[in-house]
Amino acid sequence: MHIPDGFIDGKTAGVTALLAVAGAGLALRQTRRRLAPRRVPLLGLAAAFLFAAQMVNFPVAGGTSGHLVGGVLVAALLGPSAAIVVLTTVLIVQCFLFADGGVLALGANVFNMAIIGAAGGYAIYRLVCRWLPGTRGQVAGVAFAGWCSTVLASICCAGELAWSGTVAWPAGFTAMAGVHMVIGIGEGLISALVFLAIRRMRPDLAGEISRPAPPRQWSELVGYGLLAALGIAIFIAPFACPWPDGLESVAARLGFDQKAVHQIVRTPASGYQVPGVRWAAGATAVAGAAGTLVVFGLALLLARSLVREPEEDSHPSRP
């Protein structure tokens, strides 16, 4: 999902760079304030760990394999601010050392993967944890948030590409969201398994390292939430709203809905009452919501099958 240079234009690069600098600056400030000096090297080592963990290939099917991306895993282990710092570091090194992801696109990549992916995923993880306490809730939260963060980041990526005029929104959105809804399942599953493995080996580490008091955890997220909302309002809202019009123009070009188009030309307001168009947009929303619910159910099932309730807080007994 690393956007190379040349895929986004000047205005998108500028806006995403501003958002990314604000997010990373906030994260650095929070981290410096909360993280004990002893833990400072852990940020660099966690970044190197993410990089090395991507070398471990998980077999999928038919010779293909997937690997961990790890934004949500690091956020669940270290907290959101530290996770943003870690992921920003990984992205900078990938950009300057391996030419993976562009220099001018660095802001967009940091926004998608660190702010939306890690901090957004962390918010989802906390919500699930609050709803379902205990190890089971944590595992389900990591799995579900891993999937959500992958899909959300890909949608932001599609929005940025569309705003730059590189890929049209309907095609880019369908391709990116579709592919990452599948990839995200692997990401959620691997994140949950690794999180559980760490929790079983060192229960003390699988909490948060910067350990703020619970109410402040949410206040830590407010800044990132604002930045994420701002970015979504800029990149995605313009496309999500006029989407029916896009479908109408396609319908007009294909010529199968001449009557409806004439009607729209006469009375613009009735454009949103064309049943076919409303049905298509509504169907996408319903399908997306249904898919999310199914994944949430799968995450709960996964946590239920992996974590036996009596086993909690006792020593592990699984082979």
């Binding site: 190379p4 240079d5 040349g6 895929f7 986004i8 234009d9 000047g10 690069a13 600056g25 650095l28 410096r32 000096p37 002893r38 833990r39 400072v40 090297p41 852990l42 940020l43 660099g44 080592l45 966690a46 970044a47 190197a48 760990f49 990089f51 090395a52 963990a53 070398m55 471990v56 290939n57 998980f58 282990l77 710092v85 870690v86 920003t88 570091t89 090194v93 950009c95 300057f96 050392l97 391996f98 030419a99 993976d100 562009g102 220099v103 001018l104 590189t166 890929v167 049209a168 095609a171 599953l189 691997i190 398994l193 690794v194 559980l196 493995a197 760490i198 080996m201 060192r202 580490l205």
Partner: protein, 204 residues
């Protein structure tokens, strides 16, 4: 797998380009990238000029052309994918050629800069432009322990593979995620030792 990644970095050799100061190389690279991204699609002169300049630099830097081509090919699937999506859209057929040209020029620029400039020099430039110290420390530590941890992951993966005789996918996912979890624990224990070492050497 590990060869794939280590192969992304060319072993450094002395050349007129690698002796130039890092600030200069980063500055010129940034100018080329910004210019290319902002250039209008019809500015063929700029693209040709930038490409010629990069080719001359590549020859002067004494990086084997095959290595450059391999790196470009490794990083191109996304470019090809977007070109494919756009080729299916009749309205945007002309623009993907521009996108492909732009991203190829930018890619070549970063590959040339990163393979002629040690990462520590890039860090020094970042420090000079007032990037926060915590980020610099994290970047430096990541770069230092990147290959250490990659090798450690490879060793653990091999050790695991030589002990586990199962082809059940579920079981393999379980063991592989234990390997990844163990890698995180080793990384965090290493971080503790590094902190002690840093303090012993007078780190504030």
């Amino acid at each position: 797998m590990i060869d794939d990644w280590v192969g992304h970095l060319h072993s450094r050799r002395d050349s007129p380009v690698s002796r130039l100061p890092a600030v200069f190389k980063l500055g010129v690279g940034l100018i080329i990238i910004v210019g290319t991204v902002l250039a209008p699609p019809r500015a063929v002169g700029w693209y040709v000029g930038a490409a010629m300049f990069l080719l001359i630099t590549a020859v002067l830097s004494r990086i084997p052309p095959l290595f450059l081509l391999r790196r470009l090919a490794w990083l191109s699937p996304l470019i090809l994918g977007v070109a494919l999506v756009n080729a299916l859209q009749p309205a945007a057929r002309g623009s993907w050629m521009t996108v492909a040209a732009k991203s190829t020029i930018c890619l070549l620029t970063i590959i040339l800069v990163s393979n002629t400039t040690p990462f520590s020099r890039i860090l020094r430039v970042l420090k000079a432009v007032r990037v926060p110290g915590l980020l610099i420390t994290t970047l430096a530590l990541m770069h230092r322990y990147l290959f250490v941890l990659v090798e450690e992951a490879e060793r653990m993966r091999r050790a695991r593979a030589s002990r586990t005789f199962t082809h059940q996918r579920g079981a393999r996912w379980q063991t592989l995620s234990t390997v990844v979890g163990q890698l995180f624990l080793r990384a965090s224990e290493r971080a503790e030792r590094i902190y002690d070492a840093m303090c012993a050497r007078g780190w504030k």
